[in-house]
Amino acid sequence: MKREMTGARMVVQALKDQGVDTVFGYPGGAVLPIYDELFVQNDIRHILVRHEQGAVHAAEGYARSTGRPGVVLVTSGPGATNAVTGITDALMDSIPVVVITGQVPTFMIGSDAFQEADTVGITRPCTKHNWLVKDTDRLAETIHEAFHVATAGRPGPVLVDIPKDVQFATGTYVPPRPSTSHYQPQVKGDPEEITELVAAIETAERPVFYTGGGVINSGPAASQLLRELVDATGFPITSTLMGLGAYPASGPNWLGMLGMHGLYEANMAMHDCDLMIAIGARFDDRITGRIDAFSPNSKKAHIDIDPSSINKVVKTDIPIVGDVAHVLEDILKIWKSRGRKTRAEAVEKWHARIDAWRKIDCLAYRNTEKTIQPQYALQRLEALTRERDRYICTEVGQHQMWAAQFMGFDEPGRLMTSGGLGTMGYGFPASIGVQLAHPEALVINVAGDASWLMNMQEMGTAAQYDLPVKQFILNNERLGMVRQWQELLHGSRYSHSWSESLPDFVKLAEAFGAKGILCDDPADLDDAIKEMIEHDGPVIFDCVVEKHANCFPMIPSGKAHNEMLLGEASTEGAIESGGAVLV
């Protein structure tokens, strides 16, 4: 079915045919024809954000909580450049996002026209792929290909730049067809390598699963298969920040998150294991600590759909390129057909060792009666929301790590956080995207005061669409993680790491017609959290907490997994000069 229509109408038609129901955007001169087409239809809901960065983060939140690509529509020049942080964030965390940008007309490209920017040039290194469409006849197929590339293989952001004259011109629309693209990533793993991994599973005495965001990106089936494999083998499992929820936090083999602020038992298990099974994780520097001391005596298997992740940082003994769900299915099939063997007795001993590490209780902190400790605030938030249909977003910093430590995620896609890029200002707009995708759910953004201010303009969006997002701000009047590093590394010289002139968050909420709650007394905390949950509308919760709390445990920069700092330990000289250059 081919039809003649304008480029602008084609954009809207292609989005409809791709099953898009929500677009996050901000109009401007170079996308007006597309906005005109949005105006005359009711199938696609357009959410007007207050800044283009917010549009991309909202689309990321939508994508991560639904598994469907998020869609962004912004104008040329500043519209596109404002989106760059969000696009880079999506690239680092492998989130499928389709960004459509307006561009000055083709005959003005290169003339430094008003609101012209070399959008495909600027976004080339921060997209999975991008296109400048110069011919209306190629527009529809390009948008369909953009959706294919964004979602196939390792997901990521893509961008389609559409000059204004291409939007006005008439061309032939083609509907989506099974992709003829040469880009068809390999999803099945090599059976020989998989069999080698099964043999390693059968003989391992101290195994550990180390899982990441790739399990969640692979879809719900991957999480199910992971649970089956973990529970059938009885092997302990830890996860990166991005992978939390793929295996339930309430599961019997769960160790908690690993890495720089991961749990002691998780990091010790990684260090002392004899078989590490990395699934959809990429050995990020937050995870590995010092590379030459990383899990020195283990055989390492690595399952990843992106061949470039394998052997990038850590040498892999059993590399398996493929989609997590496909590979897990084959592992289970082969392992079962060979008699479901494990060294059960040895694995039990291994669990006993892990239990001893667990007894250290690495998350212990000193609670206080007069001041709310941030850890306590999150424990109460967890206790009071755990049973609900709940989605958590976070900003970036101490609160993010505490949320990962003190909140439990039993399902994939329930934690939205900026892992790779570490984007302060991610959480609030992401929570808007999540709430739009799940209107009945309880959506909470766990924030710090400094991060939250970075995209606070999105209060306008939350208010306009009456989105009951809960902004739970752990307010320590500090850039807490920066302050912590300055304490550990820079002789407690707190250079510019405190928040002067913070707004009155209650009044700020009220200025947007939302509800503001202030709580600074541990005794009032439960009631205040309940009040926040019960309120049907956006809430800013100003949770005034201890100002100098540090996030522990911690692997100091340049140290190994078994050299963690625990909360009570002295931090003096913990990081040597070699580690100080690391971030």
């Binding site: 495909v120 080339r124 999975k128 040469h182 390999q186 470039s308 052997n311 590399p319």
Partner: protein, 186 residues
């Protein structure tokens, strides 16, 4: 896919241990990349090398299949085996890249480069330059009473050697195409 008879496969296997990957020894590899000839594709390849800090010793590019719009990029690079494997894997991630071949691993291969050298001299030096050019099978493509332009084709080392000889004989300017390479045999 194309009529170029290039064997598929190196992209798929780039993650596997073809040889010890975590050695400190720097190697020189010639990599052939078959790409869709679309706008910006060269920028993607070059941006990958600069963005991730890889070396480019030589880079050549031209469309080799006009009907299929495929270009062949030949890159000579250096790095530890781990870096070389990363380069190939990262090239394979670029969407318009169809095939990545490490000619050094898949080899043996033939490498050729074309260069033009302008030599300005008179008298004995001029005669010597012409005599050496004959030994190196370089052609004279332009001549005045006081200058020659030689055209020479060969492995990069041969061109280096010729240029070294021409330097004392009045070498004024040199233009090199960079390396083009093909696997030997079928």
């Amino acid at each position: 896919m194309s009529a170029l008879h290039i064997k598929k496969g190196s992209t798929r296997h780039s993650a596997y241990n073809l040889r010890p990957t975590f050695s400190d020894v720097e190697e020189r590899h010639t990599i052939a990349v078959l790409v869709e000839n679309e706008p910006g594709v060269l920028a993607r390849v070059i941006g990958l090398f600069s963005g991730r800090g890889y070396n480019i010793e030589s880079l050549t590019v031209a469309e080799v299949d006009h009907t299929g719009h495929l270009s062949r990029i030949t890159i000579v690079t250096t790095g530890t085996p781990q870096v070389i494997e990363q380069i190939k894997a990262q090239l394979g991630r670029i969407i318009p890249v169809h095939e990545v071949h490490d000619l050094t691993v898949e080899g043996p291969s033939v490498e050729r480069e074309l260069a033009m050298l302008k030599v300005v001299s008179t008298g004995e030096k001029r005669v010597e330059a012409l005599r050496l050019a004959d030994i190196f099978r370089a052609n004279v493509v332009d001549s005045t009473l006081s200058s020659f332009i030689f055209e020479i084709t060969g492995a990069p080392e041969k061109i280096d050697a010729f240029a070294d000889l021409m330097r004392p004989l009045g070498l004024a300017e040199i233009a090199r195409t960079g390396v083009a390479a093909l696997l030997r045999g079928e």
